[in-house]
């Protein structure tokens, strides 16, 4: 295994501070790992939301993780372009999100218009759900209720 693969695997397995069921690789937050000839490691991460308060924690976690793997000389950079979208969330990330009780983002690009595809309840899989509030416990989540089982649940907003 090359150094890049090793770092990518280790850093990618770091849990998201606010949704620990998912790793930063699942979410698409880990963008790039580079190692130059002198052994200096560069890691690029990207925010899911402009003001995401988890990003500083993630940055520290990545630095610590890379050092723990024996690479002392590491720089973690925050890259903004191209901007993160929910389309970067891995398929396994979507499955984990649903198992965690959060409806994953719908598989449709964000276009400023209401999305036609139903959000399925992560508990009973009914498509009959409705939004209670645009804004939830984190910036990336909305709150919905299922008309079939009556439960409220968070929904990872398309973004």
């Amino acid at each position: 295994m090359t150094a890049i693969d090793e770092i990518r695997r280790a850093a990618g397995a770091i849990p998201d501070p606010e949704m620990p069921a998912l790793t930063i690789a699942d979410l698409g937050i880990l963008r790039d790992v580079r190692v130059d000839a002198s052994g200096h490691v560069d890691v690029d991460i990207t925010p899911t939301y402009s003001g995401c308060p988890a990003l500083d924690t993630i940055r520290e976690d990545v630095e610590r993780c890379v050092r723990d793997h024996g690479y002392e000389d590491v720089t973690v950079s925050i890259v903004l372009s191209p901007a993160w979208t929910t389309e970067w969330m891995s398929e396994s990330g979507r499955v984990k999100l649903r198992e965690y009780g959060i409806a994953p983002p719908r598989d449709q690009p964000f276009d400023l218009k209401p999305l036609a595809i139903a959000v399925e309840c992560p508990l009973c899989n009914s498509p009959r759900t409705r939004e209670l509030a645009h804004f939830g416990s984190t910036q990336c989540q909305a709150v919905r209720r299922c008309d079939a089982c009556g439960e409220t649940f968070p929904h990872f907003k398309e973004h």
Partner: protein
């Protein structure tokens, strides 16, 4: 400490950053005071988005003006006269109707501005804008929903929205003002001509107000000066509160 910002693009990004920061702080003042738990969460979530947008634009300003200042330097170490936000964002929260209407007027403008900025010749601004567009679309939706419910609601909620509209409307003229800075950034392709955002804004806001049974007021006066550092009285009090801790304990972290 007087901090002089050089270059039209740097002044332009500083204006956007200040708009986002000041509106963010005003919304954060609602924390634990909103009429419902959902709206406490919504207003503070919107505040957090705006704070993130402000941070990105302060960071870009520091690169463009070449001073390498930190985000905290811009936020905590400038006096009132050095802030270049528009007057609308600093308007006091008032009642919930005033805050919601301020959100409708501001977020509609910000959404159009961010959309235009996704095509900025400045790659960093374009990158920030492409994320901010999506966030701001949610902000506008939230304000639109509440404007409809309150405007077309009870006699009391309608009356409060009418009164909020009369108080806030004059401050909207400043959003579309041009000066040498906006002229220069438009020529450089860094940002849109403010006037170009006017017709879309008029159309959206007019439609929402119409559906909310609210009449667009006649404009009587057009307060201005925010972009030149001339602010309304409540802004000084807001800054004093916001900067107090940092100035009392320079360099404090937590």
């Amino acid at each position: 400490m007087t901090l002089v910002v050089a270059g039209a693009a740097a002044v332009y990004t500083l204006r956007i950053a200040d708009d986002c920061l000041v509106l963010s702080h005003r919304l954060a003042q609602w924390s634990s005071w909103a009429p419902t738990l959902e709206d406490d969460v919504a207003l503070t979530n919107i505040a957090l988005d705006l704070l993130g947008q402000a941070r990105a634009m302060y960071a870009r300003t520091a690169e463009l003006d070449g001073t390498g200042r930190s985000e905290d330097d811009y936020v905590f170490m400038r006096d009132e006269r050095e802030y270049v936000n528009c007057l609308l964002v600093e308007h006091e929260n008032g009642d919930f109707a005033t805050t919601i209407l301020r959100q409708l007027l501001c977020s509609t403008h910000q959404l159009e501005q961010w959309q235009a900025l996704t095509a900025s010749t400045d790659d960093q601004i374009a990158a920030v804008a492409s994320k901010a567009v999506k966030e701001t679309a949610y902000h506008r939706d939230h304000a639109t929903d509440w404007t409809l419910r309150l405007g077309d609601g009870t006699d009391e909620s309608h009356r409060r929205m009418e009164s909020a509209l009369a108080a806030l409307w004059p401050f909207t003229a400043e959003l579309f003002e041009s000066d040498s800075i906006t002229h220069d950034v438009a020529v450089l392709g860094v940002g849109p001509d403010p006037e170009a955002l006017r017709s879309e804004w008029d159309s959206y806001v007019g439609r929402v107000l119409g559906n909310a049974t609210l009449a667009v007021p006649e404009s009587t006066w057009r307060p201005t000066g925010g972009r030149r550092g001339l602010h309304t009285e409540p802004f000084g009090y807001m800054l004093a509160e916001m900067q107090h801790l940092h100035r009392s304990f320079p360099g404090v972290t937590w």
